[in-house]
Amino acid sequence: MTKLKRKDNRKADVIRPISIQVGVIPNANGSAMVSIGRTTAIAAVYGPRELHPRRLQIANKGVLRTIYSMLPFSVDERIRPGPSRRSSEICKVTRQALEPALYLEEFPKATIDVYINILQADAGTRTAGINAASAALADAGIPMRDLVGSMAAGKIGDDIVLDLEGKEEEETDCDLPVAYMPNSKKITLLQFDGDMPPADVKKVVKLAIKGCEIMYEKQKEALRDKWVGAQKK
């Protein structure tokens, strides 16, 4: 096995520089901005609020709605605003990654709306979005079973690596994003594109979980920082 050489000289299990800030959208009930390297996601939470139209209300539980969208200039080749097949799927898996953390049964007939905007995209936008959404839900004061950390892992040559950046993602053919609730050890997002024996896939899942745990701690830090900041005032 030759020595791993990553584009940005990171070690296999090191995440790009992370910055998380909560409370960035004053109009929202909760919000967060998450940057991981040159990928930035901004999430805002509105709700719980009454769901309209009424025919979509559920009598004994609330609804979580997640809208993921990339700004037109967030990528190399401008993308048109509006939903795409890719973003529809991400909306769905993001919602399913977050739902297990919420007590939706406490909000009958209501909706909790999470909007995720990708400001710059350099790989890992869905996981950055889930981290931002998780922190924003907590920032909104919505009761949660646990925060949800999210991170992808992959493989470069023979090496299993954490948090692929853009160039790496282009060159590898393995991408495995995970979302994870550390308290209950529940995996709430799991997708995989690649071509590998199961044994390798397992290793990648394990490394991704490690990354999720790091993102989980970073979310807690950011929430604590806001709380401490508020206390000081």
Binding site: S88, Q96, S184, I187, L190, G194, P198
Partner: protein, 270 residues
Amino acid sequence: MGRSAEKVIPMTVQHSYITKLLATGKRADGRTVDQFRTVTITPGVAAKAEGTARVWLGKTDVVAGVKMSIGMPFSDKPNDGVLIVGAECSPIASENFESGPPDENSIELARVVDRGIRESKAIDTEKLCITPGEKVWMVNLDLHIFNHDGNLIDACSLAAMAALQTAKLPKYDPKTETLDTMTHTDPLPVKRVPLAVSVAKIGKDLIVDPTADEEAVMDGRLTMTTTEDGNICAMQKGTAPFMFEEIEQAFDITKKKGDELRKALAAALK
């Protein structure tokens, strides 16, 4: 799948019936946890397509069809033919499906099938190049549901591979740059047979090939697409969470069941 399927309030009675049975290793239709319903694969169901197949998993009834045309390659893959997969959960198939543009579930269905084929390089797209950078074959693979009784991803994946394996290219005349869709020549080059197998989690149990009733009460779904050489080329978790150990179990189940389905497919196409 479908709006109301997701909205449905877990039917307490049905749920406890299904889970109680499972505790004794049984299912409502008499199957074991790792048993598929009767699999029927019928190729050649639509004369105008380059390849088609209809697949029944019990009462689940889907059809896949391939149409070929000539188009431009993507600029970053000038020597490769292009695969485009679409799926339609038509209202003909269930009272829970609605008319209109593909919803989230149809899109996920198409994309999961697509990824298995794409990541495993099942189609030899380099052989579908006519003029590099200018003209390549476009493979349009369309999935359509006629009757929804659960496990649509596996049924569609199976139908897709049957349609691709039986597809033949229409005759292309490079002089006139036209297709003769009446005459078919070479088979579409298919190198591997990736098949999706979904595992449904109900309580502590992992079962395969869930019916619509079982899907209505399941706690989670995990789909893995395997190839004949034992590799995994796509995974997609749906609905509720999984534990790591459950994922490990799923590796074995999906490989074993994938091989069974590959055998059934080979027999049907013989």
